[in-house]
Amino acid sequence: MTEAATNDVAVLLSIGRHPVSGRARRAATDAQALEMALALRPKRLTAIHAGPAADADALRAYLGMGLERLTVLVLPEDADPVEPLIAHLRRLAPSLVLTGRQAEDGEGSGMLPYLIARGLEAAVVSDVVRIGPSDAPDYSASMTDLVQALPRGQRRALTVTGRLIATVHPSAPPARASAFGPARRGVIEPVAAQATADLFLSECEHRPWRPKPKLMRVKRGGSALDRLKAATESKSGKGQLLVNPTPEAGALAIYDSLVEQGMLP
């Protein structure tokens, strides 16, 4: 019998940025990805970070979650981490790669999982909240069951065949706290890597973000009276009104209205 897909897991970890203080920290969804990987209890768990070596101190928070060692692909400043990561993952050949949905610092375009999936010829699924080996009746070892978060709190179950890159949604199980002792004892292994500079990012110009005015939904056009009505009057008088119906008649009206809105089958 072949091994289940969740037995060989790699986690891609980045250095986060606190939204208020701007200090380096463990990235929130990356930590949740590591939590998910630790909860799977894989036979082999590899944690990889790609970036400048000077930032390595912030990575100890991940080691404090129970990792023994963390591989750092040492890149120069402003280098594109995609190619070194693909090259490293090709050597490791994990069956499942977990990572956060978007970096908290740097470009933060959310493209990295997709580019790595193309490099590894793997499937990519975004916004995963639960993952596990498949329990389908036509079980094969290369299939993985996962649950994806949708807007409005909805959930969708999926089955994925073959190698998988999954990004983790913020509503996944919360990351465990980082302990100081393991964080000190954990080993950070620097690995030299070849990388090219990101030309697109050097073309971009950066300036501090200034909050923009909130988009107001004002009704334009029409007369001043129409605009005043739209701005001041709440929708009224258009609804249906039943005065003192019998409870059954009232319940029937509510039921019909809910069916019409698609809230009841």
Partner: protein, 414 residues
């Protein structure tokens, strides 16, 4: 003091003393003479008679005068007698781009078949790029383009209905890539929604293009987005592939474009040549009470008029709705604090809100401004909630709730 009569008396004709004097003046003779008898006064066309205008605009005098200033003064006399003014809708001129210099593609989500606010914003952003150089906006989504004409779409590519109902991001990305090669547009915009962002990134990887994600500001030669966790603004000239952040652009209003169906030589959907690696997608049942109020779609809410809490809980279970309450209910401890709707609780944006025994304090109505369909059950006919609701039932909540539970159980067993 005498009480003024509620009905205004007939107004006197407005006097123009200079014109009357000029009419009475006889200039023949040695010096001008003034006639005693007034001659019919010459009407000065340019002189406004505000009283006549006001009388013409009066559409209702009881219980208080109401005026409609939208009608023009010429036809006012006849319309005032009827009392109903039919506002003429000014025709919005149709804007046609016959020979577009280039194309801007807007790949819309259109969730559930209706054009969402985010879709309109994407079209508005695409118009910014298209109008700068005489280009045309091509919208791509399921369904017909008629609803998109007033959002600003010049051309429309209709995808077959229901082909993307299941979760098939690989197929959607393949269709978008195929359109990119056949139409060779200058820019392609996606909404930065969960689905749109996923497809955009898949397209960017297959086409080997750089994606400029979450565009917040857009001009013909500069696009900006947030980076470094929202602390930096990154600017670049508009790239080929971009996703448009939510609520960054105002949707267009008062425009009409043609949204003409675009003839494509090759079909968009290139069969099943992509081997789907994702499969077996199915929605999971979600416990409605585990959802937060801000993200749930269907809320059952209780106010001070509810005393039968067992029925309320049963009804929530039978409907599959998230339970919530007004401030009074949460203060009294009938529901936890995070279940409070209103200004000091949660501002909800559910699609349907079923309220039992809620009078509708302004703070509560503020919390439900984003709700599309409101059903209210209350004993007070004059409550604000009754005015706000789309279906209002003046009845006791304790009587209606068990009747509704019985009805749902009956229908379910049928």
């Amino acid at each position: 003091m005498t009480q003024p009569s509620p009905i205004r008396p007939q107004f006197r004709r407005r006097v123009d003393p200079r014109a009357e004097r000029a009419a009475r003046t006889v200039l023949t003779g040695q010096r001008p003479r003034l006639l005693r008898q007034p001659v019919a006064a010459a009407v000065n066309e340019r002189r406004r008679d505000p009283r006549a205008l006001r009388a013409a605009a009066l559409i209702q005098s009881q219980p208080r005068p109401r005026y409609d200033w939208t009608r023009d003064a010429a036809s006012a006399g006849t319309a005032a007698a009827v009392g109903i003014a039919v506002a003429t809708v000014p025709a919005i001129p149709l804007q046609v781009i016959v020979e577009p210099a280039y194309l801007v593609l807007a790949m819309l989500d259109r969730p559930g078949g209706e054009v969402s606010e985010h879709d309109r914003q994407v079209i508005a952003a695409a118009r910014l790029l298209a109008d700068a150089g005489g280009g045309a906006v091509v919208t791509v989504c399921t369904g017909s383009g008629e609803a998109l004409a007033e959002a600003g779409s010049d051309r429309h590519v209709a995808l077959p209905d229901g082909w993307a109902d299941d979760y098939v991001p690989e197929r959607r990305a393949a269709a978008a890539s195929a359109l990119m090669t056949t139409l060779s547009p200058r820019h392609i915009l996606f909404p930065d929604s969960p689905d749109g962002a996923d497809v955009a990134r898949r397209v960017a990887t297959t086409m080997g293009e750089r994606l400029f994600a979450g565009v917040q500001g857009l001009g013909p030669d500069r696009a900006t987005r947030q980076s470094a966790g929202g602390s930096l603004e990154t600017g670049h000239r508009p790239t080929r592939l971009m996703t448009v952040a939510a609520d960054a652009f105002a949707p267009l209003d008062g425009v009409r474009h043609e949204a003409r169906p675009l003839d494509l030589a090759t079909p968009v959907i290139a069969g099943e040549e992509v081997l789907p690696r994702l499969g077996g997608a199915r929605r999971l049942a979600v416990d409605p009470d585990a959802l937060s109020l801000s993200e749930t779609d269907f809320i059952l809410s209780a106010g001070n008029g509810v005393t039968d809490w067992r029925s309320f809980a049963d009804l929530g279970e039978a409907l599959g709705a998230t339970r919530a309450g007004s401030r009074v209910v949460c203060d009294a401890g009938h529901l936890p604090r995070e279940r409070q709707v209103g200004a000091s609780g949660t501002l909800v944006s559910a699609r349907c809100y079923l309220a039992f025994g809620i009078a509708g304090a302004p703070q509560h109505l503020q919390g439900i401004t984003g709700v599309r369909h409101v059903i209210a059950v209350n004993t007070d006919l004059h409550a604000e909630m009754i005015k706000r609701a789309d279906l209002s039932i003046v009845a006791d909540a304790q009587a209606v709730m068990p009747a509704l539970i019985r009805l749902i159980r009956e229908r379910r067993h049928d």
